[in-house]
């Protein structure tokens, strides 16, 4: 009787302390999925998804509170990757790719105040004080943050024109319905 009680108690202590140690040393900080998703997102903290930054968006995605198509700069490519990661199926043919835009500074109105380049998450705006600012179109993600701060409303978003290098054949349409 005594032997049984002691042995069970010892077993309980040993396993309990093992669990305690494990929870201390093998602790998982936060949701690992969230971290992985955050790494996949562009990280420009542009806020176009409606969440304050990519970390918040990743959290929403990890808890399946947001659709995988939430990130406009990521486009179809990212939506596909996220769907693969989260194991959800999306019909990519229904994903409307937003027409790619790029910021444009109207040089006649720019007063060189420098507010826009301080806000730009990808350093796509360059310029000095009292000098006209310009957009490096390859770096611009069209997050529209600069539009909000411009005191003379001289920044606008323009569609990126299709060139011979970027044009490709459209998807053929089939008359019949299979």
């Amino acid at each position: 009787m005594l032997a049984a009680i002691t042995s069970l108690m010892l077993l309980g202590f040993a396993l309990g302390s093992l669990l305690g140690l494990a929870s201390r040393y093998l602790k998982v900080e936060g949701n690992p999925l969230q971290k992985e998703i955050e790494e996949m997102l562009p990280g420009s903290q542009c806020g176009q998804c409606g969440y304050p930054g990519c970390a918040a968006a990743a959290e929403a995605l990890a808890n399946s509170r947001a659709p995988v198509t939430l990130c406009p700069p990521g486009g179809v490519v990212l939506a596909e990757a996220l769907a693969g990661k989260l194991g959800v199926s999306i019909d990519l043919s229904t994903v409307e790719e937003k027409q790619p835009m790029v910021a444009f500074v109207n040089e006649g109105l720019c007063i060189g105040c420098g507010r826009c380049y301080k806000r730009c998450p990808t350093d796509a705006l360059v310029g000095g004080p009292k000098q006209i600012h310009v957009v490096i179109s390859d770096s611009c993600t069209a997050c529209e943050k600069c539009i909000d701060v411009c005191p003379t409303a001289c920044i606008e978003m323009r569609p990126i024109p299709v060139t011979l290098q970027t044009w490709h054949w459209p998807k053929p349409s089939l008359a019949y319905t299979a």
Binding site: Q45, G75, T163, L164, K171, L174
Partner: protein, 489 residues
């Protein structure tokens, strides 16, 4: 010589008899020439002339830029009246930077250095001359030829293959060139062999061009190492990877170059241009173009100045016999639609076709019946039906996994499809879309990098500011201490 069978392929009706018996005719110089600055794969050329300049025939108009590029020369003497955008010879109809030259009618050449013996030049000098002459692959792909002549430095090559297959229906420009200029072509071939450092050349001609074969064999008779080979008539025999496989039995690995298996392929028209450029310093300013099709009144083979509008070619051939159902630049299998006859002939244009409704098979598409005809026809060993189904449903990655990127867009699958499915059209779309996605992915990576760098910079600046403040505070504290000490003294 033993030939090897390639898989797949189709036998479209040839229609070559329309223009094969017509000797190459020099087309009169048009009044206005539109010379695009990008007639090749790679970076566009940079203009060295300005609006209003007078130029002579053969004068450099724009120089090459970057590693893969080609210069552009004046096809005749005249005045530059514009450097701006003009509709490109491209199915998109988008504009491309173009030099507009108004011919003065004198057709006066620039002073050219005297002819040289190319066999006193070394490989580098030859490829430099080919590059300076603006020669690009004239079979249609328009890849700068000098880059391909330099492949000997990176790969160990053993054979040069000259592509005289001309497997596309209707096309006869290479056929005529071989019949009429065999000696010149052979000279070009020997120059290219010297540049590549190979001792062996296979000159492949499809067996439906008996006269061309005879002319080339006769001209090649007294040169060592050049063998003329009759290859069977089958589309797409002129695809370089398939031609090499037919001749050597070796298959080029997926997404690799034929140079990886020691072979370089050049077109016959390119060989002719190399002969003119290296021996006589003549830049590439004209090419032979077949104008044919059931809707053309007088089909012809014309030597046309680069920049001549397609409209002029059609007018020179007597216009249309009947309203064409389709206008094409290139052959009927792989050619691109001409949406505006104002587009110019460029270095890579080999034909202008006007096809009647009877010649173009336009049937409504029906559902796939899984007959497998496309699988049998595909020369690359792919499953077109499956790839197109995945493409249709937006699964481009799935299509790529099935070998989409190994498709050469030859159109054999769409040609044989009994349901008239636009198979090759799906693949062209999918390839373009995948490239666009790669670009988007690249941009996203760059965005991430830029955002990270910015965050790091802001953190650094903040830290520097804080440290500066600390230092200032410490200094101030020290000062007050010493002042106190001074007051005490």
């Amino acid at each position: 010589m033993k030939l090897f069978r390639i898989r797949g392929g189709v036998h479209p009706q040839e229609h070559k008899q329309l223009s094969a018996h017509k000797a190459i005719e020099v087309m009169p110089m048009p009044e206005l020439l539109r010379i695009p600055l990008q007639q090749h794969i790679g970076s566009p050329a940079v203009p060295v002339v300005r609006k209003g300049d007078s130029v002579l025939k053969g004068q450099l108009l724009a120089h090459a830029q970057g590693m893969i590029s080609a210069p552009v020369h004046a096809p005749t003497s005249g005045r530059i009246i514009a450097i701006g955008k003009h509709i490109a010879p491209h199915p998109s109809g988008l504009p491309v930077r173009t030099i507009t030259l108004k011919a003065d009618g004198n057709d006066r050449w620039i002073d050219l250095p005297g002819p040289v013996d190319p066999f006193t030049l070394d490989a580098n000098e030859i490829s430099e001359r080919v590059a300076a002459a603006g020669i690009v692959g004239m079979g249609g792909a328009s890849f700068p030829s000098a880059v391909k002549l330099n492949l000997g430095k990176r790969f160990s090559l053993h054979t040069l293959v000259i592509n005289g297959a001309e497997c596309e229906p209707y096309l006869t420009c290479d056929d005529r060139l071989m019949r009429e200029h065999a000696t010149e072509i052979l000279d070009g071939v020997r120059i290219m062999m010297r540049a590549l450092g190979v001792a062996h050349c296979l000159f492949a001609i499809e067996s439906n061009k008996a006269q061309a074969h005879e002319a080339i064999s006769k001209a090649a008779g007294n040169h060592n190492g050049i063998h003329t080979v009759k290859v069977p008539v089958r589309y797409p025999m002129g695809s370089e990877k398939h031609l090499v496989q037919t001749l050597t039995g070796e298959e080029t690995p997926a997404r690799a170059l034929t140079a990886d298996i020691g072979v370089v392929v050049h077109n016959v028209a390119t060989a002719f241009a190399v002969h003119e450029a290296v021996r006589f310093h003549l830049p590439l300013i004209s090419r032979v173009v077949t104008v044919s099709g059931g809707a053309i009144k007088h089909p012809r083979n014309l030597r046309v100045a680069v920049g001549t509008p397609v409209r002029e070619l059609l007018a020179h051939c007597g216009g249309f016999r009947e309203e064409p159902a389709r206008l094409l630049s290139g052959g009927p299998m792989m050619g691109q639609p001409i949406i505006n006859t104002g587009i110019p002939v460029v270095k890579g244009s080999n034909a202008v076709l006007a096809l009647t409704a009877a010649e173009t098979a336009t049937h409504p598409a029906m559902p796939c019946i899984r007959c497998g005809s496309c699988v049998k026809a595909c020369p690359c060993g792919l499953v077109p039906a499956e790839i197109s189904a995945r493409t249709r449903h937006g699964d481009l990655q799935g299509a790529a996994d099935l070998g989409l990127m190994d498709c050469i867009s030859c159109g054999s699958c769409a040609y044989v499809c009994p349901s008239h499915l636009p198979l090759v059209q799906y693949f062209n779309y999918a390839k373009g879309e995948l490239t666009a996605r790669q670009r988007a992915e690249h941009k996203q990576k760059e965005t991430k990098r830029l955002a990270e760098q910015r965050a790091e910079r802001i953190a650094r600046e903040k830290k520097a500011k804080r440290e500066a403040m600390m230092r200032r505070r410490q200094a101030a504290r020290k000062r007050t201490k010493s002042e106190k000490a001074g007051a005490n003294v």
